[in-house]
């Protein structure tokens, strides 16, 4: 697991208060991990802080799964 993947998963676990074992790449924040709309906003803000990135609203809407978050951060940093 790359550094980015690990950090994204850690943030998801912290922000959503879920068990690490529950978090897979395909996990949907809302459908699988029980996030509400406020959770997803906070999650995106936490990702912004962690990676020093600015994620515009239209991009944030598309970040609905763990994999989508990892892909987005990788694309930003790559």
């Amino acid at each position: 697991m790359s550094d980015i993947e690990e950090r994204v998963k850690k943030i998801v676990v912290e922000q959503l208060g879920v068990d690490e074992a529950e978090v897979t790449y395909l996990s949907s924040f809302i459908d699988d991990l029980g996030a509400d709309s406020l959770d997803t906003v906070e999650l995106v803000m936490a990702l912004e802080e962690e990676f020093g990135a600015e994620i515009p609203d239209e991009d944030a809407e598309k970040i609905t799964t763990v994999q989508a978050a990892i892909d987005y951060i990788k694309a930003q940093q790559g």
Partner: protein
């Protein structure tokens, strides 16, 4: 009783704290143990706040903030968070009046009121949101006015802004209740401050006839309601407006 109103460890920011109701709120929250940052529009006002806080033995200080200026709000919230920690109690008190009959009202008079009395509350609340959601606790208390509920000739702008605070607070209360953040309003009636000292003797007497308690309120009587909402005693109250007006308007 003391332990119930202990605000030790809380960081309170009170806008418009150089005099009147704001000053009373700042002093009372401070005496209950909170660290208090009071804002004023001028250096002189900020110094005066620092002076009265120090005199009362309250931790904190006065700082300059123009609530009508987005950048000023962002930099102040950032600076306070850096110096003292995340703001856990926000009291939106700063406000102005620009009274005029609607037929004579100028766009500037309308815009000034909406910007200073309503948009500021949106911006201040937003700026404090991250710190509060992270901490999973917070209190946002905005000072409205009886005229937001009752209406008052010559104050269409002021009443609109003050009523706007209520709808804003109810909506925000629903948005962030799950994060243990309460959002409430305190609506003062006629309080003995510089703002009401501008009234004529005749206006004053007319007013008193409509107040069952037959007197103007004191700033401390508003501060008491704010302290209650800020303390653990008010923990289960959110989206609510507390009217403190001597009975002149019963909601």
């Amino acid at each position: 009783m003391d332990s119930l109103i202990n605000l030790q460890g809380e960081i309170a920011l009170v806008t418009g704290a150089s005099r009147g109701i704001g000053r009373s709120i700042a002093e009372m929250l401070g005496k209950a143990g909170a660290t208090v940052i009071g804002t004023a529009t001028s250096e002189k006002g900020a110094d005066a706040i620092s002076a009265y806080l120090t005199e009362a033995g309250v931790a904190g200080k006065g700082i300059v903030l123009n609530v009508a200026d987005k950048d000023s709000i962002e930099s102040v919230v950032k600076a306070v968070t850096g110096d003292f920690g995340a703001i856990s109690v926000l009291v939106n008190n700063a406000g102005i009046t620009r009274d005029n009959l609607l037929m004579r009202m100028k766009d500037e008079e309308w815009d000034d009121i909406i910007t200073t009395n309503l948009t500021s509350v949106y911006r201040m609340s937003k700026a404090c949101m991250r710190g509060m959601t992270k901490a999973k606790k917070g209190r946002i208390i905005s000072i409205s006015s009886v005229v937001g509920a009752s209406g008052n000739p010559g104050q269409t702008n002021y009443a609109a802004a003050k009523a706007g605070l209520v709808g804003f607070s109810k909506s925000l209360a629903r948005e962030i209740g799950s994060r243990n953040i309460t959002v409430n309003v305190v609506a003062p009636g006629f309080i003995d401050t510089d703002m009401t000292r501008e009234l004529s003797e005749e206006q004053r007497n007319n007013l008193l006839q409509n107040i069952p308690l037959s007197r103007l309120g004191q700033p401390g009587e508003i501060a008491g309601a704010v302290l209650f909402l800020a303390s653990p005693l008010g923990a289960y109250i959110t989206g609510e407006t507390i009217h403190v007006n001597g009975g002149m308007y019963m909601a």
